[in-house]
């Protein structure tokens, strides 16, 4: 095995063309997988020293977050937290203080876990992933990255360089909630993210709802968002939201949650996240 620190994106892409090459960001998934024997990379490509990868920068009113930015660094960025509180809280739910010191939002996405806490709020936010590879750069909607448990759509030689969270209109807010059997350090049984934009009178103008841990990938539930548009989150709207979420669930059945339980909880979390997002957008709950 080799450990490589590329200094340019082109060098990283060419290293990643090698047999059994693997990106190393925070290592909080990769090192665990290497120890268990689940992954045995031949080349470890540490992307943390590539130019710009540790930066959070403003772009077209939004935020570009480098693929090597840790959860702790996102939490410390006051403007980012103010604009995208739901995305940041999703990432900050990952692990402990120690894990936050290393874990990245891009690594959470690229690991491909259906239960990844950082992913639903990125989907609700319409984040755009910047991918660099042997043929140069391309942009891809975040929802198209995960393709199944442990699987992502990146081609050979490609890696995520950054993730763009778009500009926020006035009166917008987002939120992410997950359910775990403990209060910390556990894998989501279900997760729900809601991203809202309100009209001046407080009715919901745009709504995007995404669920995690209840299907092979985190996913956008269009009907759930549609159930909120034109409402002020009155009871029937929240009931319709929960119902649409439940209908979209295709969860696994395991010791941590039955199909019925995961399906029910997804609806409950969506309701609660919607209320939080609504208040954050300036609506009166």
């Amino acid at each position: 095995m080799r450990y490589a620190i590329p200094k340019t994106a082109a060098e990283a892409a060419s290293l990643l063309m090698e047999e059994a090459a693997r990106v190393l960001a925070g290592g909080t998934d990769l090192l665990v997988q290497m120890k268990s024997g689940a992954r045995s990379p031949e080349v470890i490509v540490d992307i943390k020293h590539l130019p710009g990868l540790r930066d959070i920068s403003r772009e077209d009113g939004g935020f570009r977050i480098g693929a090597a930015v840790s959860g702790a660094e996102m939490q410390e960025h006051a403007d980012l937290v103010a604009a995208w509180p739901g995305v940041v809280e999703g990432v900050n739910l990952i692990g402990s203080t120690q894990i936050q010191g290393r874990a990245t939002m891009a690594g959470n996405l690229c690991n491909g876990s259906p239960a990844a806490d950082g992913v639903p709020a990125q989907i609700a936010a319409q984040a755009v992933v910047r991918i660099v590879g042997p043929k140069g750069e391309r942009d891809c909607p975040v929802a198209e990255i995960p393709t199944g448990p442990g699987k992502i759509s990146l081609g050979r030689g490609e890696f995520v360089a950054s993730i763009l969270l778009p500009a926020r209109p006035e009166r917008s807010g987002d939120a992410y909630l997950r359910f775990i059997p403990r209060t910390e350090m556990d894998i989501a049984v279900a997760g729900a993210a809601v991203n809202l934009v309100l009209a001046a009178d407080g009715t919901v103008d745009q709504a995007r709802v995404a669920l995690g841990a209840v299907a092979p990938t985190a996913m956008l539930v269009e009907e759930a968002g549609a159930a909120l548009v034109g409402t002020k989150l009155e009871q029937p709207a929240l009931d319709a939201l929960a119902k649409a979420c439940e209908a979209a669930c295709k969860p696994i059945d395991d010791k941590r949650g039955t199909v019925e339980f995961r399906t029910h909880v997804a609806g409950v979390l969506a309701r609660r996240a919607a209320r939080i997002a609504y208040v954050r957008a300036g609506g009166r709950a």
């Binding site: 665990v32 470890i44 692990g95």
Partner: protein, 158 residues
């Protein structure tokens, strides 16, 4: 497997070591440099016994490659005391009997120091959340929280 040469700073001292490319920082600290304060409880990021700081950030050294320490600044439990003079946190843990077997203690002290540098006046809840990744099988945590709060107060009035 090719061995690597790593130059780093540990507790302020220039330190060089050789390691395998897949070796963890925890193993390098313990087996190559002889700093055995950081412990291996789980090896998977769950227990915090291996906590150190890497460029000022609290991390689990079991989930860092030793090779990543190149050019970095590492802080371990061995850097806490000033010669024979214990750090306020260490004295406070003794005063409050906040340890029994002691396996978790180095990690908890390193984590608590990082907490108090960032939040000099934490609530009990903040201390508990900050230390959620540090497991202790012995104390039941209450004494740890009291010791950290007592140290925080002493550090504030120092």
């Amino acid at each position: 497997m090719k061995t690597l040469h790593v130059s780093t700073r540990v507790n302020g001292d220039e330190t060089d070591f050789v390691c395998a490319p897949d070796e963890t920082l925890l193993d390098a600290l313990r087996n190559r440099i002889g700093l055995t304060g950081a412990k291996e409880g789980c090896g998977t990021g769950d227990c915090g016994a291996c906590s150190v700081t890497l460029n000022g950030r609290l991390v689990c050294s079991c989930l860092v490659l030793a090779a990543e320490a190149e050019g970095a600044e590492i802080g371990t439990i061995e850097g806490l005391a000033d010669g024979d003079k214990l750090h306020v946190l260490q004295q406070s843990f003794l005063d409050h009997a906040a340890l029994q077997c002691g396996i978790c203690t180095p990690g908890i002290l390193v984590a608590s120091k990082a907490l108090l540098e960032k939040h000099p006046e934490p609530t009990d809840e903040e201390v508990r959340y900050w230390l959620a990744g540090n497991l202790c099988r012995c104390t039941g945590y209450d004494k740890i929280i009291r010791a950290v709060q007592d140290a925080a107060q002493k550090l504030r009035s120092a």
